[in-house]
């Protein structure tokens, strides 16, 4: 019996093992989107509770992480829309300075990497931000983004294109400043 079948049967040890194995990835996913450690933890906890409550609907022979990641994305997107979170680049000046001193070629810890992503996506509206993270970093297809967020396919494509342009410009400026 695989881990998903055991979870479906209400095996709490199997569920604990699944949470332990996937918490790092799930947390980082939520952190990338929300940009806030406490919010990321809350979202992740809600997603696990939902998974436990809906365990009967999980597929026996499929990895449950894609299902969980969709729940995380959906909850994060709701949060972004509710709080209309779109931070200006200026707000991250201090973090950007830390980033320059940290140097991207060195090993970064989870929080530092989250700062890098926050700095990159700070000026993007919620839709562009979530589409960019899911497509470029998480490797979601456009259909998967549509399924997870409810954003229409055309809107996914357009927002992805706009977000890429903005980020490419930001990266260009960053490296130009770093070189000078």
């Amino acid at each position: 019996m695989n881990i998903i079948q055991r979870i479906k049967n209400g095996d709490r040890a199997a569920f604990r093992s699944f949470v332990t194995d996937t918490a790092d990835k799930g947390y980082f996913l939520a952190l990338k989107i929300t940009g806030d450690a406490a919010e990321a933890q809350d979202v992740l906890q809600d997603a696990y509770v939902k998974m436990w409550e809906k365990r009967a609907s999980l597929h026996d022979n499929k990895d449950a992480y894609p299902w969980l990641s969709k729940v995380i994305v959906n909850k994060c997107y709701d949060l972004l829309r509710k709080t209309k979170k779109m931070n200006s680049v200026e707000e991250y000046n201090e973090q950007a300075l830390q980033l320059e001193s940290a140097n991207l070629s060195h090993h970064l810890d989870t929080m530092e990497m989250a700062v890098v992503i926050r700095m990159l996506t700070a000026g993007l509206p919620p839709k562009q931000k979530i589409v960019l993270i899911l497509s470029e970093i998480e490797g979601f297809s456009n259909i998967e983004i549509h399924d997870a967020t409810g954003i229409s396919m055309n809107s996914v494509k357009t927002n992805l294109m706009l977000a890429r342009k903005k980020i490419q410009q930001l990266v260009k400026n960053y490296y130009a400043e770093a070189k000078s």
Binding site: R12, F28, V49, I117, G139, Q168
Partner: protein, 171 residues
Amino acid sequence: MDMENREYKSLIDQIKDFQPQMPEKDAFVNQVMDETATSAKNQANFYSMVFSWTKNPAVRYSLTGAAAAFLILFAIQNAVLFDRVRKVESQISVQQHNTAGVSNIKASQIETYLKKFGGVNSFSGFADDADIEALLKQNMELKKFLDNHPEIKEMVEEETSVYDGIPKISL
């Protein structure tokens, strides 16, 4: 690939390859396990509270089904009653006398009519006691009139019992 794109790609790859580690993961896992235990307990408590008197699943399912059927029937009954009230409302009309002649107003419009011409602001909240007294007096007179004329009363009852879409009664 130009320089700008290479730098962008390299940064995205670096983020993709990153191996995250959640701070205080053990505490978080324990918290999730506590939370899921509480949620399961709450669900179980609800069912055990409602069905505390029986453990037989057949009885529980039957009762849940009966409750759902009752709710559906209740909703249908409400819809039918509402439809009947609407039909009777359309059937009764009052006559408005004005300089242009006499025109019929349907009961559903009476409230608007009273607001406009009768000095009564609303059926749900009368302006003052005088409005209520006037309305009660009018009602008593109508009742008295119908009691004194049983043939008209009978006609009113008969006419309002069958609806064919055309307003017939003038009060």
